[in-house]
Symmetry: C2
Subunit: 165 residues, 2 copies
C-alpha cells in the first residue's frame, strides 16, 4: 500500500510517497509544488490544488495524510496556511483519498522521538527510516515524507485512525 | 451584470447576488451554506466548495468578490477561516469567475459609512441600498450582499480593480 503525505504551504507545499512492504516503509518519491508569489490568490490556490491532484492521481496512493495545526502566533500566517491546507485537502478528496491529519508535534515525535525535533533532525530520521543515502530535500518534502511515515506508524499502532489532529 | 458576494466561514458561508441595472443595484437572492460540525474536515470543505460552485453557476454572475482578512487574534480561528476562504475561492475559480477580495473594514465603510459598522447596521444599510423592505437574514447573507455592493461601488469609482484586499 502507498501513502501520500503532504506538508502544505501557499508558497511551497511538500509531498512524499512511501510504500509499505511487509513491516517496513520504503521511499517512492518526493517533491514540492511552488506557486508564484506575484500571482493572484485564486490563481495560486488553483495551481496548488491542480498540482496536488495530479500528484495524488499519479502516486498510486490508497491513503493520504496532511500536517494539521499551526505553530506560531501570527494570525495572517495562520490564515494563509489555512488556505493552502484547504486546497490540499480538496485535491486529495477530489482524487478519492481519505484524508488523515496529524499535528506537527506528533509528526516530529513519531519520526524523531522526543528530541528537539529540529527540521534537519526530522530529515535525517526520515532518511534513516526509509533507507535513503542522504536526507531528502527540500525540507518541505522531507516533512511530507515524515507525515506519510506518521500515518503508517499510527495505523500500525492503532488500526489506522482517521485523524489524530 | 450580476455580482456574487461571499462571506466565507467553515460553519456558515453567506452568499448574495445583486444585479446592476443602470446606475443602481438590485437584489437577486441571498442565502447561506452550512456544513455539519460533526463531519470530517475534508467532507465539510468539499460540501462548502460544491455548494458554492452550484450557487455560482446558477447565479448568472459575471463577477465575484470575497471578504478577505480576519478580525481578531485567535490563531486557530484564522486557520479555519483560511480553509473556508480557499474552498470559496476555488469554487468561484472553478465556475470561471474572477475573484476580487475586500477587507472587512472596507466592506463596512462602503455600505455603512464611517459609523460603528455593527452587524445590524450593515444589514439595515444593505436593505436600504437594495430597496428591500427588511434587513436580509441571516447576518452572513447580509454581509455577502454587502461584499457584492462593495465590488459594484469600487468598480464604479475605480474601474473594477481586481483586488482591494
Amino acid at each position: 500500500m502507498r501513502i501520500l503525505g503532504i506538508d502544505p504551504g501557499l508558497e511551497t507545499t511538500g509531498y512524499g510517497v512511501i510504500a509499505i512492504e511487509g513491516d517496513r516503509a520504503v521511499h517512492v518519491r518526493h517533491g514540492v509544488i511552488r506557486t508564484r508569489p506575484a500571482a493572484a490568490r485564486a490563481a495560486r490556490l488553483v495551481a496548488l490544488r491542480d498540482g496536488l491532484l495530479a500528484v495524488a492521481r499519479e502516486s498510486g496512493a490508497a491513503a493520504a495524510a496532511v500536517e494539521a495545526g499551526f505553530v506560531g502566533q501570527n494570525v495572517r500566517s495562520a490564515l494563509l496556511l489555512g488556505e493552502a491546507r484547504a486546497a490540499a485537502i480538496l485535491a486529495l478528496a477530489d482524487a478519492g483519498l481519505e484524508v488523515a491529519e496529524y499535528a506537527p508535534a506528533l509528526v516530529k515525535q513519531t519520526v524523531a522521538g522526543f528530541g528537539r525535533g529540529e527540521k534537519a533532525q526530522v530529515a535525517r530520521m526520515v532518511a534513516f527510516q526509509l533507507g535513503l543515502a542522504a536526507p531528502p530535500a527540500p525540507e518541505d518534502a522531507a516533512d511530507a515524507l515524515a507525515v506519510a511515515i506518521t500515518h503508517w506508524a499510527h495505523g500500525r499502532l492503532a488500526g489506522l485512525p482517521r485523524s489524530l489532529a
